[in-house]
Amino acid sequence: MPNNRLNGRPKMPQRTVQERIRDFDEVPLGLEKWAAIEEAKRCLQCKKPSCMKGCPVEIDIPGFIGLLAQGKIDEAVMKIKEKNSLPAICGRVCPQEEQCESLCVLGKKGQPIAVGYLERFLADYEREQGIDLQKMPTQNGKKVAIIGSGPAGLTCAGDCAKMGHKVTIFEALHSAGGVLIYGIPEFRLPKAIVAQEVDYVKSLGVELELSVVVGKTLTFDDLLQDGFKAFFIGTGAGLPHFMNLPGENLNGIYSANEFLTRSNLMKAFRFPEYDTPTKVGRRVSVIGGGNVAMDSARTALRLGAEEVCLVYRRTKKEMPARIEEIERAEEEGINCIILTNPVRFVGNENKWVTGIECIQMELGEPDESGRRRPIPVPGSEFVIPADTVVVAIGQGPNPLLLETLPELKLNKRGYIEANEVTGATSIPGVYAGGDIVTGAATVISAMGAGKKAARAIDDYLKNKS
């Protein structure tokens, strides 16, 4: 397939709508080698590269792009991996348009360098060529426990291992990866890629214990007794929020977490080959406007829904989802019902949802988030018919582990209070990072936090002798 160009920047080839909405295979296909090299050549190799300021893990962006421009693919990959051990994931899900790419000087007049596409190209190329994995670092025997195997935990584990510590990751679910496995769908982030990145971390000598709920299966005291000297908590923000509206427990109403977990982690899209079912009606409404809502809507479509709409209380401009993902969702026929907020769920005598009563909204003055505040228009109630509803309005901190650690200081919203530079918490030797500190954020910021904490853990263990 030819790579179309848009003001010099390559357009990502992707599968046609008709083809992609019938299965869960990946939608964007990745750049071809010639296109990637050509794009890399467009980079100005700035002396003071502004793009790097936008990267939470400080990848040497001109460095790797320069190597790629010279066709030195292996070296380019290694350049990225100096800072980022999960490039195939970041190349797919990072909001580059808000980070590195938004700061690229070329963006001032024309189109910024497609940094994300290039990162993905290199990571995929490496994987396909099977470049060999890391040599096992020598271990000094200091035991570090990582709780949670999301991007924060994986990054912290990998970095701690590279510094010679003996690392074990404990994960509550039966698969490693956190949201990368249970939340983000296959068609956006193939699970085989996540598995491969997890294998890479394991190749560094990291042990992985699945199906262990820290706080329940093992307590902190157990871990201390087992000789763990430092801890990293990367348990994410996995508690689904509901709207607390009448009728919300009707059958057919899912939290996005449940809907996506059934499909991704439990492989409900392959039911009955896999045992976990999921129920998708003819008309699906997804409430929300973030990445989670987009993923839910597009999943519903692939599970056989005829009509899928997104119900969002502001306008498309304020939607927190990545622009590319909103575009892809719309291409696939997902209908955005904007300036609309649910007030009540309607059901039939069997307690199945039949619709959402909504009220129209208009935008008022900006609120603390800087976005204009939505205000209900009195008397504008109407019903959107729906036989499946997915509530995707956000997540909070899961209290399961936190309840067992009363000494751990939390902030007003219930997230862990951690030092921004080191991840240190109120308990010496216990570090935290990712969504459990910041609230729902991004893969790369979770990784950034894992990285910083690894450095601090290393210092802590050295000083502790």
């Binding site: 509550a172 679910l173 039966h174 249970y182 699945l210 199906s211 262990v212 709920v213 329940k216 299966t217 093992l218 307590t219 157990d222 996995g238 508690l239 689904p240 509901f242 607390n244 919300e248 427990n249 009707l250 059958n251 057919g252 899912y254 939290s255 977490n257 449940e258 977990t261 059934r262 439990m266 492989k267 039911f271 009955p272 080959e273 896999y274 045992d275 976990t276 079912p277 129920k279 069997n350 307690k351 199945w352 899961n398 209290p399 399961l400």
Partner: protein, 283 residues
């Protein structure tokens, strides 16, 4: 991976397994449950911890074969392995001396009522137990319940054993006769609803152990939500034991029916696949 070290067929459809799971056994308490996933394709199903031995590191589960996962679990034997066995999950029951506690167990609910009766008995409570089943061949653990109860009543719906009728009629009689401090009921949702309606009349504190459909069992998905009082609770982390008088049973009954068609399809599909494999083996 955990190993099945003992299997016992309690009734044709109810089986007991003793699992080698030291980590789960170490922290297990009465009232808690585990999540079991049989193999890679399996679903995550919740089962109560029916008994545990922290020294030997074992956990007992008892399950009724009602659908694909439980039938398939029932086909496994001593020495076989189960892919995932996560726990102990949920909150334990309050362990103290209440005085006179009536433990009501219906059907497979006898399994989860046993550890509760056992621990409360140890703490000095007087235990009256009422256990019931549809028919005598569905009844198990009468002896075990006997061993932790000061008085034991047995009922069957069809009168094939013990007293003919429902556990609620015996409970009503006990209430008339004796002072009761707490009622704990575990069994089919309809039974827990009937018990709660009855004890509500007498304003007797009542605890029930709910069994909604679950996925993760760690508070991450919200599938197990129930309305208790006016609040939405997640059974897996806030429960599974709740005040019986505050539960919205009708909502929960409807939520349990969510996947009836799919579950039926799962069993049919699986039986067909097994039959095909059987043909291959015969050749």
């Amino acid at each position: 991976m955990v190993k099945i070290i003992k299997k016992e067929v309690l009734t044709p459809q109810i089986k007991l397994m003793v699992i080698d799971a030291p980590r789960v056994a170490r922290h297990a308490k009465a009232g808690q449950f585990v999540i079991v996933r049989i193999n890679e394709e399996g679903e995550r199903i919740p089962l109560t911890i029916a008994d545990f031995d922290s020294e030997k590191g074992t956990v007992s589960i008892i399950f009724q074969e009602v659908g694909k996962s439980t039938i398939q679990l029932g086909e496994l034997n001593e020495g076989d392995h189960i892919t995932d066995f996560v726990g102990p999950l949920g909150k334990e029951i309050e362990e103290k001396n209440f005085g006179h506690v009536v433990c009501v167990g219906g059907g497979v609910g006898i399994a989860p009522i046993y550890p509760k009766a056992k621990v409360l008995k140890k703490l000095g409570n007087r235990i009256t137990s009422i256990i019931g089943a549809r028919s005598s061949d569905l009844l198990f653990w009468e002896d075990r319940m006997q061993s932790v109860s000061d008085a034991l009543y047995v009922t069957t719906d069809d009168g094939s054993y013990g007293e003919k009728g429902f556990v609620t009629s015996v409970l009503d009689r006990v209430i008339q006769k004796e002072k009761i401090d707490l009622v704990i009921a575990v069994g089919p949702l309809m039974m827990m609803k009937m018990v709660s309606l009855l004890t509500k009349k007498y304003e007797l504190p009542t605890l029930v152990s709910l069994n909604p459909i679950m996925v993760d069992g760690t508070g991450m998905c919200g599938c197990c939500r129930v309305t208790v009082g006016k609040e939405c609770k997640f059974t897996c982390v806030d429960g599974p034991v709740f005040d019986g008088h505050s539960v919205d049973y009708d909502e929960l009954l409807a939520r349990q029916r969510n996947y009836l068609e799919e579950e039926k399809r799962a069993v049919e599909n699986w039986l067909m696949k097994k039959a095909e494999e059987g043909v291959h083996h015969a050749k």
